[in-house]
């Protein structure tokens, strides 16, 4: 059964008919062609599908369409809407914090929320913050360095 839901997606108000049991991940990928969020497990275990919902990093494979009404969702595509990369995206490229790239969108979205809540995290806080996002390629070191570097960049921008 489909139902009309209203929510904000990457800054735009959308009206959408969706089956109530459709996951946010599937809806983003199938209905809105936003394929940046990836399915790695479909069970909230790997973090590859992470998006930001009302300021919180969520596994979009665990959110149902029915929960979306009135909410605000930002996906990786929403970070560079004006054609300019977010400082986190720049840092991931500069620090080589990605290899195959499949975990990268989810990792960046988690980092985005982490830095919003804790603009100058310690290394241990970053490790804890991204521990729900699995990466099989990098060994995490360069990801942590990229997040630290982006934190410095945000800080400098705000000063």
């Amino acid at each position: 059964m489909k139902q009309l839901i209203n929510f904000k997606l990457n800054g735009e108000e959308v009206e959408h008919y969706a089956p109530l049991n459709r996951t946010l991940l599937k809806m983003l990928r199938e209905d809105f062609d936003l394929t940046g969020a990836k399915e790695g497990c479909g069970a909230g275990e790997c973090g590859a599908c992470t998006v930001i919902m009302d300021g919180v990093a969520v596994n979009s494979c665990l959110v149902l369409a029915a929960e979306l009404d009135g909410r605000e969702v930002t996906t990786i595509e929403g970070l560079s809407m004006d054609g300019k990369l977010d400082p986190l995206q720049v840092a991931f490229v500069n620090e080589a914090a990605l290899q195959c790239g499949y975990c990268t969108p989810g990792m960046i979205m988690t980092a985005k929320v982490l830095l919003k809540n804790n603009p100058q995290p310690s290394e241990d806080e970053i490790k804890e913050g991204i521990s729900g996002n699995l990466c099989r390629c990098t060994g995490y070191k360069k990801i942590i360095e990229a997040i630290q570097s982006a934190a410095d960049k945000y800080q400098a921008e705000n000063e």
């Binding site: 990928r29 199938e30 062609d33 936003l34 394929t35 940046g36 969020a37 990836k38 399915e39 790695g40 497990c41 479909g42 069970a43 275990e45 790997c46 590859a48 996906t75 990786i76 595509e77 970070l79 560079s80 990369l85 986190l88 995206q89 991931f92 490229v93 500069n94 620090e95 080589a96 990605l98 290899q99 195959c100 790239g101 499949y102 975990c103 990268t104 969108p105 960046i108 970053i126 490790k127 804890e128 991204i130 521990s131 729900g132 996002n133 699995l134 990466c135 099989r136 390629c137 990098t138 060994g139 995490y140 070191k141 360069k142 990801i143 942590i144």
Partner: protein
């Protein structure tokens, strides 16, 4: 040689596409008229298929086609033709594909699968490779003797042995008699899974004219084309395989896996793209896994520290199909001395069919498994003769001029340099205090080596097209599966042509449009595809110089490429731009010669020869060896058995550091993957069933498991590689696990003979030893 781009931390050419989420992986592709596939799988490890009832499934609205294995009985496989994409007659592992359904939605396809009824007659299963080798064991492949096999593998018909590799150098019996000490130990390394974050996925679409297109997340589009062409009798010019992006492979996407299920569905439904996406559970059970290994290693040493003999028995649990796994037994066999110069070597390496998930290539290709035993035996021997772990490796470790297990004299071997760097940085002989009274601290080192485990003829090619504005397109079929090959290839071309990397666009992975590449496996891409790219760029460069010498009136030998120009070395004011020559040389009268500049590069590793069939001896059986050493500093909590890795030091001889930042990233990732295997990764198998097919029950390392890592390199050039480079992606994952075992021993006095060295296993051992209560 001073270089402009090679050796520099050039940023990844695929970086922006990956951080913005705009790169399209296969699962992101959406096509009109698509059908979705679901698979009915075997619930038994070994059973005869008695009947298949498709009636109810066929009646379901939205179901478009259903196929079973009896429609496609031709067997295929990379080295040993033992495999069908859908089971024929019987099933050989739990999860084997039996029926494939195509439907208009994934949900309908899955519903249809649940309506299919298959009647089986269970057969006795082989769930242990050691038992499976014995006479009288149930046969997984009774027709093994009829299977086609590449002539360098040795199946034993009438048994479950799909390959018996033998190495016989010197006389081990006499040497063991003479040795001052002989130790023999058994090690067990369980199955693990690669767990790329992207699951396997493919799409196939056929046309009525007989052409077929495949989009696959695969490491080796040409190997897939070869397999599909062979198995379904389609000429290669009618098969197009594309691999647009790969979300991690580690070997699991080498060879051919699910593509073959889709091809017949596509042929029966022309015009409809047919898609199959594996779930994570599929990934654990139905994609390749790393084979299990039962190893027995016997080593003889003299009191002066010289190892004089080693005898190995490796029994590989290859699972239900060994088309690829036979080569793991071989690769481990010819590397079985480890990176040591030992006079007498005897090895039997058996690949054994079992009713387990299918074993296949996994980063390291047997080396990670085998070195877990070899490197612990080294430390055990060192203790016997009263020398340090570093000293025993100094005495026996390979040096230039040393001789390998197969009798090959090696010219280049940076092992000793790596050993000294790691020993010094780790301060391996200095005891350090643990961080708490209930913890024990220890350090360990291990060496490792690996050669590219590939056929002698594994070839690469590259094409460079120059554009009218002096930019270029580079085409190769080396796949960037995360390791950074797009960037490395671009750097090589940029270096030779002396144009900046951002002026080169690389295209990969399309068998119709990018040139031949054997496979993206074996840590051979920087070496082999890199060399082909170098040759293609040199070819383009030579054409430019040929035209420039006419244009400038300067001999070719006195011309060089610099910043987009061909310049006279001694008269730099004489120069002509690459752009102006890209489509040919235009004379003053308006006429022109040559036409567009297209560089062609091809490479096949020189002079690799088959080893002797009986003895395994050979003077040049591999392209090169990569050597390295890793050291681990760790603590063991005596209350829980939990290991905390504090620091890992790594040093490898890579020949040439092509891109320091990407290379570091490769090694950091390899270390973490190795530590996962050391401490907690294990595919739990019971009666052929995978008990932990999820990330909840099968843990891989997270950011919180990351130790401090120090990464070093030495550069003894590989003369056949581009700029002297050799491969390192797999070798870097080999020593950390045995180094961890050696460090655990140093901390606790306990030898762990089984991976993974879980907290539970260590705690039990500590209790038995009376350390823990």
């Amino acid at each position: 040689m001073s270089t402009e781009f090679v050796g520099k931390s050039v940023k990844r050419v695929d970086g922006v596409k990956k951080v913005t989420g705009s790169l399209k992986y296969v699962d992101d592709l959406k096509m009109s008229k698509m059908y979705y596939t679901a698979i009915k799988r075997s619930p038994y490890p070994h059973a005869k298929i008695l009947s298949i009832n498709l009636e109810k499934a066929k009646e379901l609205k939205g179901v478009k086609d259903i196929i079973t294995g009896d429609l496609f009985t031709k067997r295929g496989g990379l080295y040993l033709q033992d495999k069908n994409f859908l089971a024929v007659g019987k099933v050989r592992y739990r999860g084997e594909a039996v029926v494939a359904v195509a439907a208009i939605t994934e949900e309908i396809a899955h519903k249809a699968v649940s309506l299919i009824e298959v009647e089986y007659e269970e057969m006795p299963a082989v769930t242990n490779a050691v038992e499976g080798m014995k006479p009288g064991a149930p046969l997984v492949h009774p027709d093994l003797g009829e299977y086609k096999v590449a002539p360098v593998f040795f199946p034993v018909p009438g048994t479950n042995i799909s390959n018996h590799y033998r190495l016989r150098k010197g006389n081990v019996d006499e040497a063991f008699e003479k040795a001052d000490h002989v130790v023999e130990n058994k090690f067990y390394i369980p199955h693990i899974q690669h767990t790329p974050i992207e699951n396997h996925v493919a799409i196939a679409q056929a046309e009525i004219d007989g052409t077929i297109q495949i989009w696959a997340s695969c490491q080796s589009p040409f190997a897939v084309r070869q397999a599909i062409s062979h198995d379904f009798d389609i000429p290669m010019n009618k098969v197009r395989v594309m691999s647009p992006a790969v979300g991690g492979g580690f070997g699991s996407k080498g060879g051919t896996t699910l593509e073959g299920i889709l091809v017949p569905l596509a042929q029966r439904n022309p015009g409809h793209p047919i898609k199959l996406t594996y779930s994570r559970e599929d990934e654990f059970q139905n994609a390749y896994v790393r084979q299990g290994l039962h190893a027995t290693i016997k080593t003889g040493i003299m009191n002066d520290g010289n190892i004089i003999a080693v005898q190995n028995e490796f029994i590989w649990d290859g699972g239900a199909y060994n088309e690829y796994g036979v080569n793991i037994a071989k690769a481990a066999g010819y590397a079985s001395s480890g990176p040591y110069d030992i006079e007498n070597v005897w090895t039997d390496s058996y690949c054994v069919y079992t009713n387990h998930p299918v074993g296949g290539p996994y980063r390291g290709f047997g080396m990670g498994e085998m070195h877990f035993g070899i490197e612990q035996n080294m430390d055990i021997l060192a203790e016997k003769v009263g020398i340090s772990p570093v000293e025993i490796r100094r005495i026996n470790g390979m040096r230039p001029g040393g001789v390998t297990g197969t009798g090959e004299v090696v010219e280049v071997a940076g092992l000793q340099e790596c050993l000294e760097i790691v020993a010094e940085r780790l301060k391996v002989e200095e005891k350090e205090a643990p961080s708490a009274p209930h913890k024990l601290r220890g350090k360990g080192i291990a060496s490792g080596w690996k050669a590219p485990s590939m056929p002698n003829t594994a070839a690469s090619s590259a094409i460079i097209k120059l554009n009218e504005d002096g930019t270029a397109h580079l085409m190769v079929s080396a796949q960037d599966i995360g390791q950074g090959s797009d960037t490395i290839m671009t750097q090589i071309a940029a270096e030779v042509l002396s144009i900046s990397p951002d002026k080169i666009t690389i295209r990969t992975g399309d068998t119709d449009h990018t040139p031949y590449e054997w496979q993206t496996v074996a840590s051979r891409i920087t070496y082999s595809a890199g060399r082909a790219t170098y040759e293609a760029a040199m070819d383009a460069k030579n054409q430019l110089i040929e035209l420039a010498q006419i244009k400038l009136g300067v001999y070719g030998r006195d011309l060089e490429l610099k910043d987009g120009f061909i310049v006279a070395k001694y008269h730099p004011e004489k120069r002509v731009s690459i752009a102006s020559l890209a489509i040919g040389l235009v004379f003053d009268d308006g006429s022109a010669v040559h036409g567009p500049i297209i560089g062609r590069g091809a490479f096949i590793p020189p002079n690799i020869r088959d080893a002797d069939k009986e003895t395994g001896l050979g003077d040049h059986p591999v392209a090169f060896w990569t050597y390295g050493v890793q050291g681990v500093d760790l603590e063991v909590d005596t209350r829980t058995g939990k290991v905390d890795i504090l620091r890992v030091i790594s040093c490898f001889d890579v020949g040439k550091v092509m891109n320091p930042q990407l290379l570091e990233g490769q090694v950091e990732g390899a270390i973490m993957q190795s530590l996962g295997t050391a401490l907690f990764e294990e595919l739990m198998l019971k009666d052929g069933k995978v008990l932990n097919p999820s990330f909840v029950d099968y843990k891989i390392p997270t950011s919180e498991d990351m130790p401090e890592m120090e990464i070093y390199f030495v550069e003894n050039p590989e003369e056949t590689g581009p700029f002297g480079a050799r491969g390192v992606a797999e070798p870097a994952m080999v020593p950390a696990a045995p180094a961890t075992a050696n460090a655990i021993f140093d901390a606790t006095g306990i030898r762990m003979y089984t991976m993974p060295m879980t907290a539970e296993r260590i705690y039990e051992a500590l209790k038995q030893k009376g350390v823990s209560k």
